[in-house]
């Protein structure tokens, strides 16, 4: 997030201000793949109740194993497995496509129905043009980007 630079603090200062991290931050990697921590952006209870571990991707339903916008992934959330749909990632994609500040994901059931009922976070409108069943997720979204 760019909030830090907006607040006027440098990176070194922030390390002084905030507590020491217990984990290491890895280098930049292709968008979303196994063990990526993701942010669930719908209003489902499963995605929003706090847990001591962040939701992680454990499988990407894709030949390449790299998840971009519109890929189905399997998450480990609160000790259970749940399918999800990637709706935005930090990795820059094609020119003139939106790049998000967090790896966003929407929880999905086995039959493709979204688990939550509303999505406040903006979704990329190119989901509509992609091959796949995204209309249900677009129907519960508020904002398109």
């Amino acid at each position: 997030m760019a909030l830090l630079t907006r607040l006027g603090l440098g990176l070194s200062e922030s390390l002084r201000v905030m507590p020491h991290k217990a984990f290491s931050v890895s280098a930049a990697a292709p968008a979303i793949y196994k063990m990526t921590r993701v942010r669930v952006v719908d209003n489902s209870s499963l995605g929003n109740t706090p847990y001591h571990r962040a939701p992680r991707v454990i499988h990407v339903y894709n030949k390449s194993g790299v998840g971009k916008v519109g890929t189905r992934v399997l998450l480990a959330i609160k000790g259970q497995k749940k399918k999800a749909l990637v709706v935005g990632h930090k990795m820059p994609g094609e020119r003139m496509t939106p790049r998000f500040d967090s790896n966003n994901v929407v929880l999905i059931e086995e039959n493709g129905n979204p688990t939550g009922t509303r999505i406040k976070v903006p979704l990329p409108s190119l989901l509509r043009r992609m091959d796949g069943e995204y209309s249900k997720v677009l129907a519960i979204a508020l904002k398109f980007v």
């Binding site: 997030m1 760019a2 909030l3 830090l4 630079t5 440098g10 990176l11 922030s14 905030m18 507590p19 991290k21 931050v25 930049a28 209003n43 930090k90 990795m91 820059p92 790049r99 500040d101 039959n111 493709g112 129905n113 009922t117 509303r118 406040k120 409108s125 509509r128 069943e133 995204y134 209309s135 249900k136 677009l138 129907a139 519960i140 508020l142 398109f144």
Partner: protein
């Protein structure tokens, strides 16, 4: 003056729908009119072309149905506004089944002008399939999503599939080569199916599912929707790491655009 009759449409066979779409049945005068009170205010009235409220317990929905005069070509003349006094309770007696007009002039027109698969055709076929609670919402162009958002209920999964497949069938019959093919999304789901026709998006749901998601509320109220306001505002966790944009290549090194790095 001819208007599509609710009763007649439901008793029609599918074969006759093609006649309906060929506009001949519209022109014949042996169709009963159904008049629905149109003065009732609709929540979703953004343009009074074709709006209806999904009032769950109502048998009929206030629909801004337009009058199709004998001379008009198209099934629903979208330019003319219904005339209350003349069309109200007009009961044109005639044979219950719609018959294709034998008029040679109509036959010529039938061959020349293909009907486009627009919202009126869609709603007509949904009614023919006994769709429950048809709700058509005109979506503003600023959202850049679609023109019409239709939510329809069905009595069972089989009913939803039947409606969806029929809609696709009619679309394929009416589409030109330039129009893309359309798929039914969520065919393996039991309660929610959806079709994206480009200018319209139709959602077929069971009534229980419809109550859970409340799509009509979201698409009419947009940011004022209740479910959205009941989402608690997000707070970042205390150990959240902020990125330094100047060193983050993914953001293009922030406002400096990489000049600092060089």
């Amino acid at each position: 003056m001819a208007m599509i009759s609710y009763k007649c449409v439901t008793s029609c066979s599918r074969r006759i729908l093609s006649g309906l779409l060929n506009l001949d049945a519209v022109r014949t005068n042996n169709i009963k009119c159904l008049h629905v009170n149109m003065k009732r205010p609709c929540v979703a009235t953004l343009q009074s072309r074709y709006t209806c409220c999904a009032l769950r317990h109502d048998q009929f929905h206030p629909v801004d149905y337009v009058r199709c005069s004998g001379k008009d070509r198209f099934y629903c003349d979208l330019r003319s506004i219904r005339d209350d006094t003349t069309a109200h309770n007009e009961d044109i007696a005639g044979s219950p089944a719609m018959s294709l007009s034998a008029d040679p002039q109509n036959a010529d027109l039938r061959r020349k002008i293909p009907q486009a698969f627009n919202i009126d055709v869609l709603v007509a076929l949904l009614r023919q399939e006994n769709a429950v609670d048809v709700c058509v919402i005109k979506v503003p162009k600023s959202l850049k999503y679609t023109d019409y958002f239709v939510v329809v209920s069905g009595s069972s999964r089989r009913h939803l599939i039947a409606m969806a497949e029929y809609a696709v069938k009619v679309y394929k019959a009416l589409k030109t080569d330039a129009d893309p093919h359309v798929i039914i999304e969520g065919k393996d789901a039991e309660d929610w199916m959806c079709i994206d026709f480009g200018h319209t998006v139709v959602h077929f749901m069971l009534p229980e599912t419809r109550e859970v998601y409340e799509l009509e509320k979201l698409w009419t109220l947009r940011s004022f929707d209740e479910q959205l306001s009941s989402i608690p505002p997000e707070t970042l966790p205390k150990d959240f790491i902020y990125d330094d944009e100047a060193t983050d290549w993914r953001s293009g090194f922030g406002d400096l655009g990489g000049q600092e790095r060089l």
